[in-house]
């Protein structure tokens, strides 16, 4: 472990020496700068935002606006294209309702067979509501979206292609260029579910040529209960609001109302202010980190996991076997052992993993499994975590097999 990564790790008070936290894809931990930013907000700036002119209200409004700017900077997009939501799920439901209400029966939406339920169920509900047809890109044997099926799956009726930027099970990173080209060719919009992408470094969203991007704060080293929807300004203009209430209106009368412009139209009610401030602090902190070094370290540790698992009898890895186009999320099946039993025994060795379907039942069905065991890394992961992982795995095999 380099001293740089040791210094990073010390910023996370929850990461005590006995703990190998390999569940960052579920929720990443919070570093001191984020903890402090939230505490500072709550103890010296707390108030409701926007309408107030008193000092705390001004400070809170300023902190909230600054958070929006910091998130926007992390994504290289204008701040007035950032909508704060409750999380990835809320962001995608927002699009399914707001963009979905612009679609007509017979229109088609293209997804893949590896989507998280958050990027599947809202579209199933829209399909039922609006007579929309869902079409699915198949999944390859190594857990990637099969892009060779793009021409056969997209067509003139396709209005939206919505895919995981990174799979939360297989770690596969989708190759966005052919997706965007295929969507553009038929006039479809593209949404990427970036929940598992953003914790691994800044994303230049503008350069991707997409239309929507969604992710959660709690996987980005920030509090639970805040998320982001980025959408092109023209789409924020074109879409009707999703939820109604305070802050999202221009004028309200009993007989009807008109809407605010920009992100405000989609931020009904008091937003998750402290959590958004935490997310801004996280993005600010992340923006200053040495990402080339962190990515190299995450890759090196991922390789160790892949190598060790491949050498373990009865283990089948769900996902690419190499590092190419792959994020540090490693799921596997251990023949004859149930994921929850594996996780439970490894927990007794201080290793925090996740077992189950990881909110991706169709993908597990594709692999003929009910669930899998997942180890997921973050910028604070180190060799001691991987060492403990293999000690725990040996123990699980000894007990269960």
């Amino acid at each position: 472990m380099s001293s740089a990564s040791a210094a990073l790790r010390r910023q996370f008070p929850i990461l005590t020496p006995g703990l190998a936290y390999l569940d960052s894809a579920a929720s990443a931990q919070m570093p001191v700068p984020v903890l402090d930013a939230v505490r500072t907000f709550e103890t010296s700036q707390r108030a409701n935002v926007k309408r107030g002119v008193h000092r705390l209200a001004e400070a809170a409004t300023e902190a909230y606006a600054q958070a929006r700017g910091r998130v926007a900077a992390y994504l290289s997009v204008p701040a007035d294209e950032i909508v704060f939501t409750g999380g990835t799920t809320a962001s995608i439901n927002l699009v399914a309702h707001a963009f979905g209400s612009l679609l007509k029966p017979g229109d088609e939406i293209v997804l893949s067979g590896l989507e998280h339920h958050a990027n599947l169920v809202p579209w199933q509900m829209l399909a039922a509501r609006g007579g929309i047809t869902l079409r699915f890109l198949p999944i390859t044997g190594d857990g990637r979206i099969d892009l060779s099926a793009l021409p056969a799956t997209l067509g003139p009726r396709t209005k939206l292609v919505t895919l995981a930027h990174v799979s939360n099970v297989t770690g596969a990173i989708v190759d966005t260029a052919p997706v965007v080209a295929a969507a553009k060719a038929v006039g479809a919009r593209v949404l990427l579910d970036g929940a598992q992408r953003v914790p691994h470094g800044p994303v230049d969203i503008g350069a991707l040529g997409i239309d929507f991007y969604a992710f959660s704060g709690h996987k980005l080293f920030a509090p639970h209960g805040v998320g982001v929807l980025w959408a092109k300004a023209e789409l924020l203009d074109a879409m009707p609001p999703f939820m109604g209430g305070g802050e999202m209106i221009a004028r309200v009368e009993l007989s009807g109302s008109t809407w605010a412009k920009g992100p405000a139209k989609f931020e009904a009610g008091t937003p998750p202010i402290g959590a958004a401030v935490g997310m801004g602090a996280a993005c600010d902190w992340l923006s200053g980190l040495p990402w080339a070094a962190i990515a190299a370290e995450e890759s090196r540790l991922t390789q160790r996991l892949l190598d060790g698992l491949q050498a373990t009898p009865g283990v089948r890895i769900l996902g690419p076997s190499g590092l190419q186009g792959r994020a540090p999320v490693v799921s596997f099946d251990l023949a004859g052992a149930h994921p929850h039993d594996v996780c439970q025994i490894m927990d007794s060795k201080g290793v925090a993993l996740r077992g189950g379907h990881h909110c991706a039942q169709p993908l597990h069905g594709r692999f003929d499994l009910a669930g899998s065991t997942r180890a997921s890394l973050a910028l604070y992961s180190d060799d001691s975590d991987v060492d403990r992982f293999f000690e725990g795995l040996a123990e699980a095999r000894r007990v269960l097999l």
């Binding site: 039993d341 007794s348 379907h357 269960l400």
Partner: protein
């Protein structure tokens, strides 16, 4: 050190396949899912009136769930239908750390792990669904 949860006795139960399988032409059957993990339990019963002649369990689930299903099947076979409630009570007591029932006390270590309570309770819930409002 292995986690106390996975002691010999519980693992032996999990590997007990004596009543594993299905019953052709079962009098009663029920399949239940645990939505949180995708696990699935099927319990088949052959009844003669109130008496349970035969029980088979078919589990896609963890060791704790399989151990519970095997334990339940063994406890119910040959008993009256009322035995289900009695066994459920014994499991609850074991999870609460308040039993010395020789059959169910092997599940006592699960008590500390709330996230696993549903695993051991799923077979009993399936049995309850199968035997509900029988006439």
């Amino acid at each position: 050190m292995s986690d106390a949860l996975y002691h010999e006795a519980i693992l032996a139960r999990a590997k007990d396949t004596a009543r594993e399988g299905r019953i052709d032409g079962a009098t009663r059957t029920a399949t239940l899912d645990n939505p949180l993990c995708g696990d699935r339990v099927t319990l088949d019963f052959a009844l003669s009136g109130e008496r349970i002649d035969k029980v088979r369990h078919f589990v896609r689930g963890c060791a704790l769930c399989r151990a519970s299903a095997a334990t339940l099947a063994a406890s119910l076979e040959g008993a009256g239908r009322g035995a289900l409630a009695a066994n459920a009570g014994k499991l609850d007591a074991a999870l609460a750390g308040a039993t010395d029932d020789p059959v169910w006390q092997v599940f006592a270590p699960v008590g500390r792990h709330k996230s696993r309570h549903d695993c051991v309770r799923l077979p009993l819930a399936a049995a309850r669904a199968a035997l509900a409002d029988a006439g």
